[in-house]
Amino acid sequence: MQEPERRSDRILLEQFRAGDREAFGALYRAHYPAVYRFAFYMTADPIRAGEVTQDVFVWLIHHPGDFDAERGDLGAFLGGVARKFLLRDQRAGRRWLPFDESEPAFHDRESDDFACAIEREQEAAQLREAIAALPGPYREAVVLCDLESRSYEEAAGVLGCPTGTVRSRLHRARELLARKFQRKREGQKCL
């Protein structure tokens, strides 16, 4: 996270802690996409991802003093909170649903040729499936570093592990992912 964004977060946090609704709304809008994306790729379920996102921000409302700006940025902190909610769900035996291939579309169809758009959506769906099939720790590394563009350090902050662990998990995850993705693509071409 850039320094100006971090500073802006600090100011908004202070205002939010003082009871400023607008400041909380601004924090929500700034961090909602990353939290949702993380939950979405970890659960492979848009509805559950929305629930986790809501849980994270409701938690923040009730624990405004738990974030220490000296220990990292708010985005990584919220990622860590989201991860705890996801792990709690997992432990409770809640099954994460696979991506539905019939609804892969978050894509703007208007600007593309239809056939091209279909192909891209199919590829995206295959990649989502491959990500969803990764073991949890590898999936977390891919989502944080590749899809949320977080640095290794930030990802380590979210996951609560050393930077080297993030690197090695990401390396292994990408190997697995490339193999699975390639296989799916080749399977698709054969059809």
């Binding site: 009871g19 978050f106 995206a124 899809l147 563009s149 990408r174 490339a178």
Partner: protein
Amino acid sequence: MELARGGDLESAERQSLLLHLDRCAECARLLDEQRTLQTGLDSLAAEALPVDVTIESRVLAEFDRSAALRKRTRPSARRWVFAAALAASIFLGAVWILRPSPVHPVAAASSSESPFLTIPYTIPLAPEERAEVVRMRIPVTVLLAAGFHVEAADPSTSIDADVLVSQDGRARAIRPLTVSIPD
């Protein structure tokens, strides 16, 4: 992998990797896989995820609810003043109750046990006659005039005494509290 991700590589390192890729088909295939994957990941990362506006409204509603709750539970200044006054009264009450009892003048006779002495030349109370006890401060000279023999150093002083007053308002007996009056 860093090559596929477009990461930072030293130019010498990059050059040697590219040379190796020219000779090694396996590594070239792996790089190709990683590049394809990277393209796919980049496009997923750029994907606009759906925005569920109801989440924001629900979260903000929770913020409002929580703020209202905090406001209700936060004691106002008036409550603080009330609490302080209550604490002060309890403290003062405790001090009053636990204060050391004042030193009373030593009674010459035990007030509760000494009997009432009938005032000379008055009719004694009948057993069924109602009367009341009134505590008074009586000059010694009055007692002397009434016929009591009072052992007081200074006859101009007064003594405390319980006086038995009958229904007709007349004093019938007396029980001195601070000096002794021999029978």
